[in-house]
C-alpha cells in the first residue's frame, strides 16, 4: 500500500515537471539552448561590442549583385578559396539543426530548389542531408558520420547550438575539406565562411526604435518571447529591453512557446490589468492571436512588431494597425550552396558573410503581400526564391523534400 502511494507521488512529481517542460520547451523553435556557454559566464546576453557592430551594419549599403540579396554582403573581409578550386560535380553534406518551425521549413524548401539549379549546372552532384531534430547530440553524430563515411566534398552546417557544436565543426575543418556554417554560429573561425543576416541585436534595435517612436513615453509594451536560451532570440530581446529601459517604455516579457492559445491568454490578462499600448515579438509566429485578443476584448489595436510571416502581414493589412515586420532574412538558406559554388570555382568570398536584413515597413507591406499572394500563412515574405524553378507552386504546396 505504502509503496503504491510513494510510486504515485513520484510519478505525479515527474509528470508535473514534464507538464511544465511540455509548456515551455518549444520543439518549434530551435535548440535546447547553449547550457555550457550560459552557465559558465552567468547569463548575460547583452554584448555592447556586437550591439554596436550590428547597429552600424543596419545602415550600410550592402555590396554584391543588385536584386539578389542572398549574394550581397556587408563590410566583408574577403577570403581566398583558390586552394579549394576543383572541377566536376561535388557532393555536399548538410548537417541541419532541424526543420521544426515554419521559418526553417520555408528556408529548407528554398535551399532544395537552389540545389536543383546547381545540380543542373553540374556544380553539385548530390546533397546528403541529416536532420538533427533540434538535438545537439544527434547533430554531433551526424557531423561525425559525414566525416567518417559521408564521402563529402564540402560540409554545410546549420548548428543547433553554438558552444556544443564547436568541437564537431572543428573536426570537420580538420579533414581539409571546406566547411560552410550558416544561421547560428560556432566559436571557431575554422570554417571557410560563416553566413548569417546582421543578427538579433539589429532586430531588437529596429523593433524597439519603431515602438519608441510610435508610442508616448510611459507607454506599456508586452513582449512575447518564444523561449529562453537561444542566442538569436535572446539578443533580439536584450537589445529591445535596453532601448525600452532607456526611453521610458514599460515592458513586461513572457515566454509563449509560440502557442497562440498561450499568447491570447497572456494578452487577455494584461488587458484585464490595464491598457496595453504596444506588442513586441521576438518571432512573428502567433502574432494573429495577439491581435485577436485585442479584438475580443473590444479595445483599440496596439502598435505592434511581428515578423515577415504571411499570417502577420495579412492581419496587419486587414486591421490597418500601426506595425512593422522585422525580418530575419530567410533567403540566407540559398547562400551556403552558392558559397559552395564559389569555393569550388576558387573565387574569393566573405570570411564572415553578413547578409542584409531590413524590416518590412508599412509602405512596403502591399508590395510583399502582392508578391506572395497564394502563399500559406506560415510562409516568409522575404524568402528570396522568386527566380528559382518551381516558383510559386513548390512554396504554395509547401512540399517538404
Amino acid at each position: 500500500m505504502r509503496r503504491r502511494y510513494t510510486v504515485a507521488s513520484a510519478m505525479v512529481g515527474a509528470l508535473a515537471l514534464i507538464a511544465l517542460a511540455g509548456c515551455t520547451t518549444d520543439p518549434n523553435v530551435a535548440a535546447p539552448s547553449e547550457d555550457a556557454g550560459a552557465t559558465e559566464e552567468a547569463v548575460e546576453w547583452f554584448d555592447q561590442e556586437l550591439y554596436d557592430k550590428q547597429y552600424a551594419e543596419r545602415s550600410v549599403v550592402p555590396e554584391g549583385p543588385e536584386g539578389q540579396p542572398w549574394l550581397q554582403y556587408i563590410n566583408a573581409e574577403m577570403t581566398d578559396t583558390s586552394a579549394y578550386a576543383s572541377t566536376g560535380a561535388k557532393k555536399a553534406c548538410f548537417a541541419n539543426a532541424s526543420i521544426s518551425n515554419p521559418w526553417r521549413t520555408t528556408g529548407w524548401i528554398t535551399m532544395n530548389q537552389q540545389l536543383k539549379v546547381l545540380q543542373d549546372a553540374g556544380v553539385i552532384s548530390e546533397m546528403e542531408t541529416r536532420d538533427a531534430q533540434d538535438s545537439d547530440d544527434t547533430q554531433i553524430a551526424d557531423i561525425d558520420y559525414f566525416i567518417e563515411e559521408g564521402g563529402c566534398d564540402i560540409f554545410l552546417i546549420s548548428p543547433n547550438s553554438t558552444a556544443a557544436m564547436t568541437p564537431a565543426v572543428e573536426r570537420a575543418c580538420d579533414t581539409g575539406k571546406p566547411v560552410v556554417v550558416f544561421d547560428r554560429g560556432v566559436q571557431t573561425d575554422c570554417p571557410v565562411t560563416f553566413v548569417h543576416p546582421i543578427g538579433g541585436f539589429a532586430w531588437g534595435i529596429d523593433t524597439a526604435e519603431f515602438l519608441i517612436e510610435e508610442l508616448e513615453p510611459g507607454s506599456k509594451v508586452v513582449a512575447l518571447r518564444v523561449l529562453p536560451g537561444v542566442d538569436v532570440l535572446e539578443q533580439r530581446w536584450a537589445a529591445a529591453e535596453k532601448l525600452f529601459g532607456e526611453n521610458d517604455i514599460e515592458a513586461v516579457d513572457y515566454f509563449t512557446g509560440a502557442d497562440p492559445a498561450e499568447i491570447k491568454k497572456i494578452i487577455s490578462d494584461e488587458l484585464a490589468k490595464g491598457d496595453v499600448d504596444g506588442i513586441w515579438m521576438d518571432a512573428g509566429d502567433g502574432a494573429v492571436a495577439a491581435i485577436e485578443a485585442f479584438e475580443d476584448a473590444g479595445v483599440d489595436y496596439p502598435v505592434m512588431t511581428g515578423e515577415d510571416e504571411m499570417s502577420f502581414l495579412r492581419k496587419w493589412k486587414e486591421t490597418g494597425l500601426t506595425g512593422l515586420a522585422p525580418v530575419y532574412s530567410n533567403f540566407q538558406w540559398r547562400t551556403p550552396l552558392l558559397a559552395a559554388q564559389k569555393i569550388f570555382a576558387g573565387e574569393e568570398i566573405p570570411k564572415e558573410w553578413v547578409l542584409p536584413q531590413s524590416p518590412i515597413t508599412a509602405e512596403e507591406v502591399d508590395q510583399y503581400l502582392e508578391a506572395n499572394e497564394g502563399m500559406p500563412d506560415g510562409h516568409y515574405a522575404k524568402f528570396g526564391g522568386e527566380d528559382l524553378p518551381g516558383y510559386p507552386q513548390v512554396w504554395q504546396d509547401r512540399i517538404i523534400p
Partner: protein, 390 residues
C-alpha cells in the same frame, strides 16, 4: 438513499462538514482553487466582475474538457498521452479542410469526431488486445500524429478556418445582462461536464472505476474489460476533439496548439485527487484541477512574476498541492484521519473512505459497501501487482 435517515445536520455541522471536505484530499483542489481566485481578485479586483470571470471560464474550457476525458482513462487505470496531439491534429484538420468555406463546417466536424473516435479505438484496442502498456501506446500515437501533422502541413498551417466555425470557440451569446457575453465554450463545457457526471453514475461509468481499482474482480464480476477500457480511450479522444474545436476558434490554427495538453490534463486530474493507477476519483474535482491550473497561470500573470522563473514557481505550487493531497490521503488510509474527527461512524457519506470513488451520495455508499466490504481488497490488489499477477 434510504440508508440516510439521520437527523438533519445543523448549519454549524454543515459548515464544519464543508470545511472538512475542503481540507480532505478530494476537496484540496477546491481549496486551492478558492485560494487562487481570491488571490487573483486581490491583485486585480476587476477579475471578479462577471464579464471578466466568464471570459476566464471560456479560456479554461478546452483544458477542462481534456482533463475530463483524461479522468476516465486514468480512473480506469491507464494513461492517454496522445490527447495533446489529437487536439493539434483536429485543429490542423479544421484549418486545412474547412478553409474559408463555411458550408464545409458540419461535414468536417463530423469527420473530426469520427477521426477522434478512431484514434481512441486504435489506442484502446492495442492496449487491451495486444497488452501493450498504455503509456507506450499513446506515446507512440502522440509521435505518430505529430509526425503526420508535420508531414501534412510542412510545419506551417495553411490558415485559420472560416469565421463561422471559429465562432464556437471565440464567440458567444452577446448583449446579455450581468455577464455581457455567454461564450459558446462555456456552454459546451457545462454540457460536457454534465454528461460526464451523468455517465459516471451510470453502471458503465461505475464499471470503469471498478476496473481501475481491480481488473481481476471486475472480470470475475462479468465485465468485458477490453470494451470498457477501449471506451475510455474513445471518450478521451472525443473530448480532445471537442477541445480542438474550441481551441481552433479561441486561438487559431498552429502546429503548437494543444502541445503539452496531455500533461496539463494529467496534472489537473491528479490535482483533483484522482489516484494514478485508477479506481479512485471524482470527475468534478478533475475539472476543478484544470481551473486551478489556469488560475495559477493567471495569478502569475497578474502578480508580474518575471518570465525567467515563472515556471519554477508554477511547478513548485503544483508539486506542493499534489503532495498535500497525497499525504492527507495516506494519513487517512492509515487511520489518522485528518479531516474526520469521528473516523468510526460518520453519517456524512463523503467522509467515508469507501466512497472515495464517486461524489454520488448514499446510493454510492450502498453499492460500494456491498461490493467492497473494507479496504482489504485493495491490499490484495497491491500484492497481486507486486507479484505481477492477473
Amino acid at each position: 438513499m434510504s440508508a440516510v435517515t439521520t437527523p438533519q445536520p445543523t448549519v454549524g455541522q454543515r459548515l464544519a462538514g464543508f470545511g472538512r471536505t475542503l481540507i480532505s484530499p478530494r476537496g484540496a483542489v477546491f481549496l486551492l482553487l478558492i485560494v487562487l481566485l481570491i488571490a487573483i481578485t486581490l491583485l486585480n479586483p476587476s477579475f471578479a466582475e462577471p464579464s471578466q470571470f466568464i471570459r476566464f471560464v471560456q479560456r479554461v474550457a478546452p483544458v477542462a474538457i481534456v482533463a475530463i476525458g483524461q479522468y476516465f482513462v486514468i480512473v480506469g487505470g491507464e494513461f492517454d498521452l496522445s490527447m495533446g496531439s489529437v487536439v493539434t491534429a483536429q485543429v490542423v484538420i479544421a484549418g486545412n479542410l474547412i478553409g474559408q468555406d463555411e458550408s464545409k463546417s458540419l461535414p468536417v466536424l463530423l469527420l473530426m469526431l469520427v477521426f477522434g473516435a478512431v484514434i481512441g479505438l486504435i489506442n484502446g484496442l492495442i492496449v487491451t488486445m495486444l497488452k501493450v502498456p498504455s503509456f507506450i501506446v499513446t506515446l507512440g500515437m502522440m509521435l505518430a500524429l505529430l509526425g503526420a501533422i508535420l508531414y501534412w502541413t510542412g510545419g506551417a498551417a495553411t490558415g485559420n478556418p472560416a469565421d463561422g466555425f471559429r465562432e464556437i470557440g471565440r464567440g458567444g451569446i452577446r448583449d446579455l445582462p450581468v455577464i455581457d457575453i455567454l461564450p459558446w465554450s462555456v456552454v459546451v463545457l457545462v454540457v460536457v461536464l454534465a454528461l460526464a457526471i451523468w455517465f459516471g453514475r451510470r453502471p458503465f461509468g461505475r464499471t470503469i472505476i471498478a476496473l481501475g481499482d481491480n481488473p481481476t474482480t471486475a472480470r470475475y464480476s462479468g465485465t468485458r474489460n477490453w470494451w470498457v477500457k477501449t471506451s475510455t480511450f474513445i471518450i478521451s479522444s472525443l473530448s480532445a476533439t471537442v477541445a480542438g474545436v474550441l481551441l481552433v476558434g479561441y486561438a487559431g490554427v498552429h502546429p503548437s496548439v494543444g502541445r503539452g495538453y496531455e500533461f496539463t490534463a494529467i496534472t489537473a486530474v491528479v490535482l483533483g485527487g484522482v489516484v494514478l493507477g485508477g479506481g479512485r476519483g471524482w470527475v468534478v474535482a478533475a475539472a476543478a484541477g484544470a481551473f486551478a491550473l489556469e488560475a495559477l497561470f493567471t495569478l502569475l500573470n497578474f502578480a508580474g512574476v518575471p518570465s525567467t522563473y515563472r515556471d519554477a514557481v508554477q511547478g513548485a505550487i503544483i508539486i506542493l498541492a499534489v503532495a498535500y493531497s497525497a499525504t492527507t490521503l495516506r494519513a487517512r488510509r492509515k487511520g489518522r484521519a485528518l479531516e474526520a474527527p469521528t473516523p468510526q461512524i460518520s453519517p456524512d457519506p463523503s467522509s467515508d473512505p469507501a466512497t472515495q470513488t464517486s461524489p454520488a451520495p448514499a446510493e454510492e455508499q450502498d453499492a460500494a459497501a456491498s461490493a467492497r466490504p473494507a479496504p482489504i481488497p485493495s491490499t490484495q490488489r497491491a500484492d497481486n501487482e507486486t507479484k505481477g499477477g492477473s
